[in-house]
């Protein structure tokens, strides 16, 4: 589904991603871990098409298309979804109006008619339930005055509504208490299928108890320095990140 080859990117003339290779297939969940500042959010941003990043080298194909050629909105319309680490507040744009607009723009891209009011309502109700998202919040301005946890849950609610092929969750777990974490994870697990895939970026192993990954990668200094299965996450939990920060050894090449 997603194939990243030697991806390098810089921001304000500073090289942040220094050659990333990653292959994600339908039905898989990949976890990306790594210390703060290692480039996890940057990778997510580059994939979503944030303009402040300049790709200097490498290729990314998404379902056979050259992802880097697409505008951010077309990437989303092709089925890429980024759950933001820091979702922004947009006063005056109602959550529900925003979602309807997004859904219809995606449908128009695929030559489908706008969603019927009744169907939209049904879908909203169903997905609200899935992530236990407070119906009152749906009618409020986008994220305005939401708690940290509510914002994160709203990201997963949007994910559920837009039903993307590939979802990138950027530290969705940070700022969530254990109950919220369980709800969000349950939601994601219910949305998992053999047709979609997830990249779960996290700092802590905790989340991976709930969303069990097929693969775990460690990102450090703009490179994936280690890849493995879910046991790698447990090892990181025990030993911390210091051991991977040591000068690159033959093991990690």
């Amino acid at each position: 589904m997603l194939s990243i080859k030697n991806l390098q990117a810089k921001v304000e003339d500073k090289l942040i991603l220094k050659g990333i290779d990653l292959q994600v297939n339908a039905g898989e969940v990949h976890a990306i871990m790594g210390p703060n500042g290692s480039g996890k959010s940057s990778l997510a941003s580059v994939l979503a098409g944030r303009e402040s990043y300049e790709v200097t080298c490498g290729d990314v194909t998404f379902d056979g298309k050259n992802l880097l050629d697409l505008s951010p909105e077309d990437r989303a319309r092709e089925g890429l979804f980024l759950a933001f680490q820091y979702p922004i507040e947009i006063p005056g744009v109602s959550n529900i109006n925003f979602l309807r607009t997004a859904l219809n723009e995606i449908r128009a891209y695929h030559n489908e008619p706008p969603i019927e009011a009744k169907e939209f309502l049904r879908l909203t109700r169903e997905k609200q339930k899935l992530v236990e998202f407070d119906a009152k919040l749906t009618n409020r301005s986008l994220n305005e005055g939401f708690s940290g946890g509510e914002k994160k849950r709203n990201e997963i609610f949007q994910l559920a509504m837009l039903n993307p092929k590939l979802s990138i969750l950027d530290e969705t777990d940070s700022g969530l208490d254990i109950d919220a974490l369980r709800i969000v994870s349950n939601g994601v697990n219910k949305l998992r299928s053999d047709k979609n895939a997830f990249i779960v970026i996290t700092h802590y192993q905790r989340l991976l108890d709930y969303i069990v990954p097929d693969f775990v990668h460690v990102l450090y200094d703009g490179k994936i320095v280690k890849s493995g299965t879910k046991e790698l996450a447990l090892e990181l939990e025990e030993r911390g990140y210091d051991w991977i920060k040591e000068p690159v050894t033959s093991e990690s090449v």
Partner: protein, 430 residues
């Protein structure tokens, strides 16, 4: 310069011709005083503080007709209509009302006939400072057409009144309509004004509106300023509020008219009044939109709240000047003012100037002014959800305008304004 002078000469000639025929003494005196004030000032120049950012001279160069041939405007059913609006409809053609209208609780009279009533002396031109307002003086000296709207004591008008001003610009035309609204005690009414223009020649409309709001009355006034590029508007609105009255003003200016200058002056001449002024200007092309407001707190315990928002595209320009005066008597005044601007183009320019003068000591006043542009983070967030550039910008502009548009109390008007914004934005990005 010479052509401007000639317009000035045209007015002088017209005044001399007309005033010899005037047999109504108080009106004659009023017109003479006003015309003298105009003669002393002439048309405003950018050397005057009040017109520093708005150069009127280029717009006065046209060879305007002051008295058009008998209005040959055919009734166009849909001219200026607002979809879904259930209102009492009034159409003024070049300022002329030519059918009788029957609205429960309201008396509407063409100003030509109404003016003969000596009772009007206490309202007409009574509260306008001629010495500082040359356009308002000119209008007072020479207005011919317009209407008087009088809302009866205790009348609560059940539907909004919608006035469509239709102008014939098949030849260059300088029009000076006059409107007087009298809201008697305990009355309540909503008045919506919009414009429809026929013809492509230059049109200059110098309007003076006076609103007198008696004790415990409420008046909501909507100005929907949509017009094509051949239109130029100078509006002077003088409001007088008596005790315990409520006045809401909504002024929405959209892309089109080459020049819009609004002066909105409030005299809060009674205690316990409440006034809300909401303005939105969405400008495009090389449009110039200038809003000057003056809220004069004269008595204690009054509240005024003003929020003007601007969205500027292309090489358009906007001016906001908001004055709040709190007179010595006006203790316990609450006066708030805010002006926020969003520049959507590098070439757009806004001059925003709040001005507070406070002579009382126990007051709460605040003012603020901001100029910004699109929030790129917000734009990216919307795009990352599949929303394209045009729709995303639309959402953000509507969001910015939201706290002004959501104050519109009439759903059809609100929808109309929101649709106009979306439509004009899409046009600008084509």
């Amino acid at each position: 310069m010479t052509t401007t002078t000639s317009l000035y000469d045209q007015f002088t000639e017209l005044y001399n011709k007309k005033e010899t025929l005037n047999r109504n003494e108080w009106l004659h005196n009023l017109r003479r005083e006003a015309f003298e004030a105009f003669t002393v000032q002439g048309f405003p120049t950018t050397r005057q503080e009040e017109w520093r950012f708005t150069n009127i001279a280029p717009f006065l160069k046209e060879a305007y007709t002051l008295e058009p041939a008998a209005a040959s405007l055919h009734e166009n059913k849909n001219a200026g209509s607002i979809p879904g609006l259930d209102a009492y409809e009034i159409v003024l053609k070049n300022g002329l009302l030519n059918v009788d209208v029957d609205i429960p609780g309201i008396r509407i009279t063409p100003i030509r006939t109404g003016i003969q009533d000596p009772a009007l002396q206490q309202y007409l031109g009574k509260h306008i400072a001629f010495r500082n307002n040359s356009f308002a003086s000119l209008n007072t000296a020479l207005f011919e057409n317009g209407i008087i709207i009088e809302i009866a004591k205790n009348a609560v008008v059940d539907k909004p009144v919608h006035i469509t001003h239709v102008y014939n610009a098949e030849e260059p035309f300088f029009s000076q309509p006059r409107i007087l609204m009298i809201a008697n005690r305990h009355s309540r009414a909503e008045i919506i004004e919009s414009v429809f223009i026929k013809g492509r020649q230059s049109l200059f409309v110098n309007t003076v509106t006076e609103c007198y709001i008696a004790e415990n009355a409420r008046l909501d006034q909507y100005h929907l300023q949509t017009a094509p590029g051949n239109a130029h508007f100078v509006n002077f609105t003088q409001v007088v509020q008596k005790g315990d009255s409520l006045y809401n003003n909504f002024t929405y200016t959209l892309p089109g008219a080459a020049l819009v200058r609004n002066n909105l002056h409030l005299n809060l001449d009674g205690s316990n009044t409440e006034s809300h002024l909401y303005g939105l200007y969405l400008t495009a092309g090389s449009q110039l939109v200038d809003n000057h407001t003056l809220v004069n707190h004269m008595k204690p315990h009054c509240l005024s709240n003003e929020l003007y928002k601007g969205v500027l595209m292309d090489q358009s320009r906007a001016v906001f000047n908001g004055k709040i005066f709190v007179q010595q008597d006006a203790q316990k005044t609450n006066a708030f003012q805010q002006n926020n601007n969003m520049l959507l183009s590098d070439k757009a320019v806004v001059d925003s100037k709040p001005q507070l003068e406070i002579f009382a000591d126990d007051v709460k006043c605040s003012h603020g002014s901001t100029v910004g542009s699109f929030n790129n983070e917000a734009l990216f967030y919307l795009k990352a959800r599949g929303i394209g550039e045009v729709a995303a910008r639309n959402l953000l502009v509507n969001a910015f305008a939201f706290d002004v548009t959501n104050k519109i109390q009439i759903p059809a008007v609100r929808e109309y304004v929101e649709k106009l914004i979306a439509h004009k934005m899409a046009e600008a990005y084509d």
